[in-house]
């Protein structure tokens, strides 16, 4: 539908205050006059706004004009006896005393009809929010906040870039879109659009991020200039990229089976092998700050016995899964001709969390049948210690030398912070059961994923930053 730009805004203000209305509209519109209005205070896009309101039959209505002005709605009188509101590329048509609104040409119904009071249109806040597609929050003090900031929708992955920005990645059939998201407002800017890039891995210096493409080439993108530069066109598969602590090199597992640990120097693009021991299916590479200690997991596929000479319908196949649980390995590259050391040999399932910066310990979530999942550390001398064993560990992530744990607390989930060096545990907070993931980084606030949406701790308030 084309928008008639010829109608000036002043006409709109008039229509919204209904001081002059067309004859037909006036006939339809039964005004409720001489009802006193109050001023309500709302936080709209992080700024306080004073909105006129009235209470009719116990229902609070707010001035459409005031709300619209506060969020930046553009109004026009339309030829249907009402007004059209234009907001963020959408058109909303509404009329006084009518529950029906038309959004982008499709009719839908409000919970309460728009009221005409003292020559002004009023609407309930929930209907207004619904109509323009805003988000609202109600804090513990009863303060309503309304946000119309457009946010990244349905990100597949969100990580911290630095203390004030997140990286949100959206993967669609047509490609991959990476956005830098303001952690306070949710406003975002595009960083990178590609068809075949891997997840971006942010360098410890926070200035660049690395990614590989289908050909195997590795690129580094400058987060400020948004310019990417190829650092190698090596065609090998690189399932995981891990930055060195000084951001000068990238370590990676090489090959479809992740058999080799390799190092890519960014200054000259040269690749060298750190470890090639013919052991397949390495994963979860972690490198110590000095680049000498490597931790990773190895998973061994099950052994299958099958006699292909027998008829297929005899199903002569057997699977031996003995010893197929993931195990944690450590490799000390500072020892000449050193061999990787298997730190664990237990039969629990292990989800690797990370390793201490000095390489002294590795951490994993241990899961066994009919037992609570626990957070476990394993030291260089293979000493295993349980750091959390009285709660079911749902997720554990590492940031710097801290481990953040989301644990089952019954009616709500508990967030713990563990000091990787001492193992000291601190209960930080409780969050609703809907929280499925913590997003953490050293020096950044905690972010949570709840019902698929990311919220950031903003001085004790959860600020939603994605949709």
């Amino acid at each position: 539908m084309s928008i008639k730009k010829t109608i000036v805004v002043t006409a709109l203000a008039t229509a919204l205050s209904v001081s002059i209305v067309g004859a037909a509209a006036a006939a339809q519109t039964q005004m409720k006059q001489a009802i006193g209005t109050q001023q309500s205070s709302l936080s709209i896009n992080d700024a306080m706004a004073s909105i006129r309101s009235v209470t009719l039959n116990g229902i609070t209505y707010m001035s459409i004009r005031d709300l619209g002005n506060a969020v930046g709605v553009y109004f026009e009188v339309n030829d249907k006896g009402g007004v059209s509101a234009f907001f963020q590329g959408h058109t909303i048509e509404l009329r006084g005393l009518s529950k029906e609104i038309v959004v982008d040409g499709a009719a839908r119904e409000l919970q309460y009809a728009v009221e005409n009071v003292n020559n002004m249109y009023f609407i309930t806040l929930s209907d207004f929010i619904s109509a323009i597609g805003a988000e609202s929050t109600l804090d513990g003090a009863g303060q309503v906040s309304l946000s119309t900031v457009q946010k990244v929708k349905d990100p597949s992955r969100v990580i911290w870039l630095n203390a004030s920005s997140l990286l949100a990645s959206v993967i669609e059939e047509e490609g991959r879109f990476d956005y830098i998201v303001d952690a306070k407002t949710g406003q975002f800017t595009e960083l990178l659009t590609t068809t075949d890039a891997s997840d971006l891995v942010v360098a410890p210096n926070g200035q660049t991020a690395a990614y590989s493409v289908e050909s195997g080439a590795v690129y580094v993108i400058d987060l400020a200039s948004k310019q990417s530069k190829a650092v190698t066109y090596d065609g090998s598969i690189k399932p995981e990229l891990v930055w060195s602590a000084d951001s000068s090199a990238i370590y990676f597992l090489q090959g479809d089976k992740g058999s080799v640990i390799a190092k890519l120097n960014l200054s000259d693009g040269k690749i060298s092998k750190v470890l090639e021991d013919k052991v397949d299916y390495k994963a979860n590479l972690s490198v110590s700050a000095d680049g000498s200690q490597f931790h990773y997991t190895v998973i061994k596929p099950g052994a299958v016995t099958a006699d292909s000479s027998k008829p297929v319908d005899q199903d002569d196949v057997a699977i031996d899964l003995t010893g197929t649980e993931p195990q944690v390995y450590r490799f000390d590259a500072s020892i000449k001709d050193g061999k990787p050391e298997k730190l664990t040999a237990t039969t629990d399932d292990k989800v690797f969390v990370g390793a201490a910066a000095d390489g002294s310990k590795a951490f994993y979530v241990s899961a066994e049948d009919n037992k609570l999942a626990s957070l476990v550390s394993v030291a260089k001398d293979k000493t295993i210690a349980k750091l959390i064993e009285d709660k079911d560990v749902l997720q554990a992530v590492m940031a710097g030398n801290k481990i953040y744990v989301l644990a089952d607390g019954g009616s709500s989930e508990i967030v713990y912070e563990i000091d990787a060096a001492t193992g000291q545990k601190k209960e930080l907070s409780t969050v609703p059961n809907s929280v499925t993931e913590l997003i953490v980084a050293a020096g950044a606030p905690i972010a949570i994923v709840s019902d698929g949406q990311v919220s950031v701790d903003n001085n004790g308030q959860w600020k939603k930053v994605t949709q």
Partner: protein
């Protein structure tokens, strides 16, 4: 002292995005962390790296789901499911249907998880870059025994075949050889049991020819054009190159519980266009048919 600030935040905060379109399902951390269960996956060696990569990622979101994987050729996947010793049978063909050499596995459901291109490959010493379907049929049946008969050097051809039960073999026979039979014995004939063994055999055996998933092709071998069409992802997607198949996760009936959640993870946009592509498979959504 325990902070209570999280509790003060009303999670009644609602995203009322009704008016401007449907609320699509969020795809970040969809999986419930409390999901538990045990999944055993067996079958195609071609799909094993993909399965293990997906398992590693899935378990980070679902630490209480244990996933074990093994491979011994595609047919052992649906066999293991039918026998009740695996929850998922990884198979390079739709085993719920009859294919040459194998009857359908009744009651099993084929869940597409990847597109797998296959390539005819030779040892790097072979000076032939292109073969027609007829030439491939003649070589793999043993009728043509010397590379000079197809434009190469005067050297005896060593045929390396996958053992019976391999999904790669089924697909190569159906799509590269147009259903023609393989030779089964001879001085210059070898059979190998896995994709990895095929890679080793081709890399180390002069004058050899075999076939494998495109992902396994290395710089130490040559991936042949077939009928002048190169085995590339682009040629698979644009329909010019015919030697490919879907990879399937076969399940006994519709999958449920942790098995269902894992299959959905592998089929998700994030995995298909992320790790799956990184491992040089093609997303299932890329294909028009």
């Amino acid at each position: 002292m325990k902070s209570k600030f999280f509790k003060n935040i009303a999670f009644t905060a609602i995203a009322l995005t009704v008016a401007f379109g449907s609320i699509s399902m969020a795809n970040i951390a969809d999986a419930a962390s409390k999901l538990s269960g045990k999944i055993v996956i067996n079958g195609s060696s071609a799909l094993l790296p993909l399965t293990l990569q997906a398992a590693n990622e899935f378990k980070k979101l679902n630490p209480k789901v244990k996933i074990s994987a093994s491979a011994a050729g595609s047919v052992t996947g649906p066999q293991a499911v039918r026998k009740g010793i695996a929850d998922i049978g990884a198979c390079d063909w739709d085993a719920s249907l009859d294919v040459p050499g194998f009857k359908k596995f009744d009651g099993q459901v084929a869940n597409k998880v990847a597109v797998i291109p296959f390539a005819a490959v030779t040892n790097s010493n072979v000076k032939v870059a292109n073969l027609s379907t007829k030439q491939l049929q003649d070589i793999f049946s043993g009728k043509v025994k010397n590379w000079k008969e197809v434009g190469g050097s005067d050297a005896e051809i060593v045929v390396v075949n996958r053992a019976f039960g391999s999904g790669t073999r089924v697909n190569f026979q159906m799509k590269a050889l147009d259903g023609a039979d393989f030779m089964t014995k001879g001085d210059n004939y070898k059979e190998v049991k896995s994709s990895g063994d095929m890679k080793t055999a081709i890399e180390t055996t002069p004058n050899s020819i075999g076939y494998m998933d495109l992902v396994y092709v290395t710089s130490k071998m040559t991936a042949l054009k077939i009928n002048d069409i190169a085995p590339t992802e682009a040629n698979v997607i644009n329909g010019k190159y015919k030697v490919w198949s879907y990879g399937y996760y076969m399940t006994k009936g519709q999958p449920t519980g942790a098995t269902k959640a894992f299959i959905e993870y592998v089929q998700s946009k994030a995995f298909q266009n992320g790790s799956l592509k990184k491992l040089k498979f093609i997303p299932i959504s890329a294909m028009k048919n």
